[in-house]
Amino acid sequence: MKQREDRRAIEGIQALRDHNPDGLKTLYDLYGHAVYSLAYSRLHDAGLAEEVTQDVFFKLWKAGPSWDATKGSFRSWLFTIARHATYDRLRTLPAGEWLGIDGMNEALLGKDDPSLDTITDLDYVESLMRTLPGEQQHVLKMIVVKGHSVRETASHLGVPEGTVKSRLRLALNRLRIVVSQEEHRGTL
């Protein structure tokens, strides 16, 4: 499955290098959901998320041909571009709307957040995610990916809130190792 995705991505990039818009459509079909989901999860606004998605793929149209496989997988590279675009747009919003997190603001996030320039190895994150026990994966997906609260997740799973928090903490600690160990392998 992943090999097929990688093969199609390579085909898309080759088409971009020939200035063929069909290549961009291939990449959009592969990663449009991912870019939009990331933007929406942080901006909490369909219109802004759509604008960011457009900007990311327009940038891809311009910069995609220069993608360098030695800096990481294409998916990881695109993730970095999408994060940059999302957080750049976030900085144009009032502090109260930041990330949907009460009390979050630019000072806390850090203006020159180096993590935005770090290419996170998504393949490694994905493989590590698969090694987590099923109940931890479930909690992670409900809370982090789908944005449910601890209480909603506990109610859905029929377990105490303390159990949900415990599973979440164990899963996050395991995955945190990945991000902590990431090396700054280059910037865009």
Partner: protein
């Protein structure tokens, strides 16, 4: 202060007093700031990998128009070429017959559609310029949608449907669209809300209003 406070903060589990204390601490603690950026990176990576939300169908259309505006430009060129050719032919015919040129005839070059709904409060008009393919839509009475939802404009002909983009809905319940549309007589315009909520997949909602193009 332990990093588990970060998880409790992001989960909304801190009391107001605890939250204030934690944020004051966070502003001064590089270690906790690192923990925050790590957590945001990880959350973003998981969302990117799982990709739970489908973008509105108008998104690709907008991207395509930005990177590949050849279709409208080619059509404009072909229309201009046709007009020029016609002018040359008419000129040649006029010279040959030594007759005064005929007065210019302005053909109807636009189509109109009345947009209606089962709700009589919703009504509007759409005007399509057949030369430039520019479409202008104005409609009023559309209900305000919850945050994260929007109205999309579509053209439909037979089994073919194409998203043109999102409508700009104002607080006065008036909405508008201005952009390119490759449509013509027999095409139907459809406005419908997309339900694009966090943790919910995008689905095409019920038709809010529609209308068909007819010649003037």
């Amino acid at each position: 202060m332990e990093h588990c406070e970060l998880t409790r903060w992001l989960s909304g589990d801190l009391t107001a007093m605890e939250k204030t204390e934690y944020q004051q601490h966070l502003a001064l603690c590089p270690s906790c700031q690192n923990a925050l950026t790590e957590r945001l990176t990880m959350d973003d990576a998981l969302v990117f990998l799982e990709a739970p939300i489908k973008p509105p169908r108008s998104t690709w259309k907008a991207i395509k128009n930005r990177v590949d505006p050849r279709r409208p430009r080619n059509r404009r060129v072909s229309y201009a070429f046709a007009a020029l050719s016609l002018g040359v032919m008419v000129g040649a015919w006029s010279l040959h017959h030594k007759a005064p040129p005929a007065p210019p005839v302005f053909a109807t070059n636009q189509l109109e559609a009345r947009l209606t709904s089962s709700n009589p409060a919703i009504h509007g008009t759409a005007v399509l310029n057949l030369t430039t393919h520019h479409l202008t839509v104005r409609i009023q009475g559309l209900a305000t949608l919850p945050a994260g939802h929007l109205y999309e404009l579509w053209t439909v002909k037979g089994n073919q449907e194409e998203a043109l983009g999102a409508l700009n809905l104002k607080k006065t319940h008036q909405a508008s669209f201005s952009g390119l549309a490759h449509a013509g007589s027999g095409y139907e315009l459809v406005i419908c809300p997309t339900q694009s909520g966090w943790a919910a997949r995008t689905t095409l909602g019920p038709v809010a209003a529609k209308g068909a193009f007819t010649a003037n």
